[in-house]
Symmetry: D4
Subunit: 252 residues, 8 copies
């Protein structure tokens, strides 16, 4: 963190009488948090191919979202991701601002802009019912500047569907395994590939699936190494994390 | 149920004065339960290649077990299965009676006798730690007169181990899938074979495996058809049910 | 598995120059999955009296279902089972295709065809409220070519209702015990019959029934041997498994 | 409640100058709790054939228990019930005081005295493993002056065992149904008898019995009317409540 | 059970040639279950002041309920209790048959008739929100011929409300304690009275009340003796059991 | 408690013949509960800057609430707090009585009156979605006469937001930490301040938040000392308790 | 926060050349955390009659604890509280350092010193088995300089025990209610007193107490206002929080 | 996957008569699984700086472990990681083979070899009790060839401890956040850094920590993006995954 030098510079200025101790105190009081914020900015820079801001749409009115988006856009933001946004809010917003959206994934992108398409993230699902969550992951990753390959409906009950898609799996930098019910996809994929696997349990199922708990426990207990898990139905989180991993710089 | 004829015969005897109504009443009072018991006996006959009685060893003293076994043996029983029997009880019993046993599976067979070896039941496990439960299932099935093929340590995290064993799986009449942790084995096997699959979740694992709950939920939510589940660690129940299915007569 | 001979035949053709190594490679690449599929086909053959394909209706649009059904019908399929299909989708489909349906069981059969009616599967329920799940099991089994006997409302709180139906129970090849609340039916039936019993816990009940958890746990802990369990409300799974068992060939 | 007359008498004494208002105040300050206690005493009188005090042994030292017992005995108590008492405390106490005990039921009776044996309480168990809890119930009821009939090992998996014991069940004033695993005994008994049934789930079982939770939920969801439930393994509570019910006076 | 004499009589008829053995067999086959039914009839006789039949309204159509009610009424039944009946079914039925109802308690009484009012059952609630469940208990008990005293809104957070109602509590033959949230009412009442206490946890509350689980656990763990528990919101079950206890004959 | 002197006075009157023992008995019977009530009144006096009565709106009709409010107002109450009141009831009530309300917090204040604003209670939230619960806490505290500082959206995922608000936190007498999802706010705040912290878990979140359970467990396990917890979404309880603490008198 | 002046002073020194910017930077780097620590120190000062440091003994060796204690003592600390310390560690430590301890409460106080005894904290328990946790709370509060009144074994099952202790309860500044099993004590106490009540659920109980979960849920759902809850068995946390509240300064 | 060329080569050999079709068939039968294995080997190559094999020690005897290790070593393996190995097995093995071990982390390394130390993985813990799990993660990562920085005891209850360690956190390529109790560390770290964060909930805590469930839920619900979670106490899994991520090649 370079900011130590800023403080040193500030102290030199105090020493030289260029700034009064009282004014220096005010600067110092704010500094640590600017520094913390800087870390964030640094992060944002590392994902500069994509959108740098995300709005959690749930629990916000369409007007509130519009306000935030416009304020961000005014500062130059593009490709602003809005997650968990309902159809009626999409209906409102698309009349007001430049908006791309995926209704099933409850996602919208304000002021969309072509992004680069780096690396390779595979998003695999156990069934077609897991698609909404998978799309939330896939579109999040795409907006953040990643290349995404979709392998949908390759669940373990028909293992040949997965095995006939080994090539895209083997060449992935990150795999997002999205599955409900027994959630075994993450384990099987984790045993096949040598890249990080992010499991996303979904609430798809009934009865003893307990709205995703069964799949969550399965993935946490995966006997395959290299698998980690995010919250039930958290496609956004998986897409975001996959982007971080996919865009990592190599070791020097 | 043939016993109706016995009652008819009894009534004929009443009619013919060979037995008084009072004595017939006494016989009738016992009959229904003999009849119900008879159904059991009929069942036992259908599994006559094996042992017809099982003793749940847990919560019984070695002396109590010995007493029951001796009483059964006196009536002609052989291959008497004793489940969940601890090592110290085995130590005691093997000095007293003719006893075969598998310490790891907590199983013993009193007055063992060579049985026939019918059909084909495959017992598959996810890992080596699931072996104790699997052996409880396998030995139970063997004592009941079934041929058993063991496929151990073929868990889904290295799916090739399972795929290189397709032939025994494909030729099974019943498969018992024994797995802890994420319990995905039942689903993958269920998707490969066309015979009934009995899932046995095991308490193998730690943390969020919750002593078998994770595997249990996985198996209950199996996206493969043809899979049913027994209690956590219930190898005996799986072996017993597999025997029932394996030894079914064909449709006429 | 006969397909080894197909590969051998292919290799002979390579040897004889009838096919180039490059084309043979293409064939081989697909083969393993055809082989796996073949196993399925083999299975399907074993249930050839009934429908060989099942569509999970939940989460699919009526149009999507129609598309799949028509594609399957074009390849000769009949008696195509559609599970968990809502009334509005039934309303749409019955105008478009030849459709039989059971609204309460959320089941439909596209291009229905008379099937044979093999063996004997008994579907028993604890109460009248369990009927919808029971019908899902019963109709599934019937469409797959099995003879089904229904014993509804024979719950254990009035044990005489069950005892007065011993004869159909005793002559069943498989019993499906469908019950909510305390789910004791599976245990009591399991203690009476000598054939495999499949327990289907239902979400019928309130309060501490926890939407089927109480019945599920009861059935998993059944003190009767020969009982296994499927997911809460999974009538289809029970009917499908019962069909597999009922139609087993006898031991040679 | 007769004690109102005591207070009236006290007030008369104040009026007559036989007692000063200050002394009367002291009496009154204690009175309400004597009154509340009196209700207890009244209850105790109704069960006067048995012990009127119970000591919860768990978490008390043998010396503490001895102290309480001796203090109670000094005031004339006999048949003092000590529940959940470990063997080592029994070993200590039996050297010090007149003690009867049932090690398996973790029960002891200090200064035992012959009691009357009123009415009829049936204690039934699903299996032999439930006996310890059942004995806690049975002995508690006996010490409190009730006649107890034991029906052990009549679980529902062999329903004939229960049905061949209908007579004692039918003539019971209260039935205590003690069962672990799937706990179905309470429902089946509840459907057979017309007296109150108290279900005692036990922690007997393994895996998905979850140390009595499965049996507890089963009993709470009993489809039979007239069944209520106490805590897992709470034999004492069931015996105590059964005694209250058994010894009720008839309606006038 | 008197029916043994009926069988003896039957056997005498066989002996005397008044009935053929074949016909006698048919009679015998049905007899045991008539006997079991007889036990029920005996029970019903013991509650003959009230309704002898109860219809669980949930999951039945208004027409089905009407059919059952009319069939029962044709056989002479009155005061037929219908539980968990929704308002629309009440609306339908009250046009068709003689119907009394309590909409809040989801209860209706078909062909109501004045009953006797025996003994004394106190129904107490923790709060006003518990009233619907409490009314289900109270009306059930009243229809079954019991006198009911209501003590509503006497929860433990204002213990003086309970203490100022000691007299009705002390004179009760049975107390039904209905409470949601922390469910402490059952324990406090259990510590005050010397009659059986039936706890009814309700789903009243929010957050960590988990729809009645908190109250259920509280009541099961009551440190007061003499308390047992029924299912969450099961007012009917409590009223029914309370009636059984209240109407017990005294010991001879 | 001064009432002892009242009883003494009563006894003196009995002694002096100014009151008959019978009348004194009646007085005595009521006295203890008036005394208990007096304690309540004493409590109410201690919060006399604010409203002394709270109505739990849930499960009461608008008319019932109106009745209670009017009765209280007739006795002089002002600032009557109504919690968990729905919008339609607000709509009804605001036409009938003098009413202030916060729709989002489901709170209304009948006959509002300016209160004093004592001490300093900080209400902090993890996110904007926690605002409704936070407002319930804040308005409750305000109505009860406390000064409230709001620090909303200072969740731990951006720790700088919290750190830049240290001054209001450090000067608080009580902090209410309102958070859903992982609920870490309570721990972090608890580690920063030296006053009591009340954690309010909220049901904000999805999937494995289990409607507030995750946040509840987090707060209960807080590694920071000085933190206690109320029920999920219980803003009122936190505001009420914070008021009690904030308004404590100092040690003498 | 006064420390701003320290930084100002530092800046003045830089200005005056008394300290180099480089050295000032080092000071500043540490300062914020000294500042944060200062807040703690400020708190500690407010409880200066007691110990200012607490060592969590669990998971630390006796030698490690000794090291920490000696280091703290060297800096002048006394009355150092060590929680969750096992007997063997107490045995070791009492030979090495000046140590007071309560074995049952798993507490030790290193270098004990007479403290003042401010205000009044009442620690009440439901039963004698809750005493260990209660002592942890009581001794913690005493070491921190508070006066503690113990009211043990006043559980709600015998409500008169609690009511006969109203005076100490009414005069408390804080009440800690410690209870296992059904945990109703917190609610009843909360309805009686007008000071903050801290509920401590304990793991005392068996069966459906689920090691404290039942009591925890009860207390969280308390229908009494003014009650908050800490973790199961967390006597230390309750004592620490009670001390914070008890020692609050009055409003100015 | 290059192996297609091997098959092509095989087919050419068949064409050329260098190999018979029968022998080719045998080769082909094994090939797919060698191919799948090859993918594994490929993975292993990518982590060739470290150990390529891991032995799960739990449930294996010391002799079994020794056998596996020796077999692997014979094939050239070094740095063979053995996880969850108990002290007695370490005692046995260190006499037999070249063994390095960390008893607290239950880890051993057979035939240890100096590895490179690439990149930077930070392992942070909430408390000192989390160290064992943290060491399992750290040593796993080190053995696999990664540079590891340990930040222990930086839990959120004293947030300054974490903030004074921003520099190592900010420069990490991956952070492993290990925490029990409320598990908030993962969220706070996730909000500070811009690299992937792997949360490891630990079973450290008591009461409502439910052996790690509280921390697990906290981490799954983290409001910080970029956080994923592994099983409770799964230090190995976190270290292994962190190694995969840390050693990723950069995007081309």
């Amino acid at each position: 963190m370079d900011h130590k030098y800023d403080i040193l510079q500030l102290l030199e200025q105090v020493k030289n009488g260029e700034i009064t101790p009282e004014d220096a105190l005010l600067d110092l009081k704010i500094a640590p948090f600017e520094d913390l914020g800087y870390a964030k900015v640094d992060y944002h820079r590392s994902v500069r191919q994509g959108s740098s801001e995300v709005i959690f749409g749930q629990g916000k009115t369409a007007q509130q979202i519009q306000g935030i988006v416009k304020s961000m856009h005014a500062k130059g933001s593009q490709n602003i991701l809005i997650t968990r946004i309902s159809n009626d809010k999409i209906d409102y917003l698309e009349k007001e601002i430049d908006l791309d959206y995926r209704r099933n994934a409850h996602l919208a992108i304000a002021y969309p802009k072509e992004t680069t398409s780096l690396g390779n993230i595979v998003v695999a699902t156990g069934g077609t019912s897991d698609m909404n969550v998978a799309e939330e992951a896939a579109v999040t990753a795409e907006v953040l500047g990643n290349h995404v390959t979709r392998l949908y409906d390759v669940g373990v009950a028909g293992i040949h569907r997965l095995l006939s898609n080994l090539e895209p799996l083997m060449s992935a930098r990150v795999v997002i395994a999205v599955a409900g019910m027994e959630g075994a996809l993450a384990s099987v994929v984790g045993g096949l590939v040598d890249c990080p696997v992010i499991g996303v349990p979904t609430s798809v199922g009934y009865g003893a699936s307990f709205e995703g708990v069964s799949a969550l426990l399965s993935m946490l207990n995966s006997c395959a190494s290299g698998v980690s898990v995010v919250n039930i139905d958290n496609g956004f989180g998986a897409g975001y994390l996959a982007s971080r991993i996919n865009q990592m710089e190599g070791l020097k």
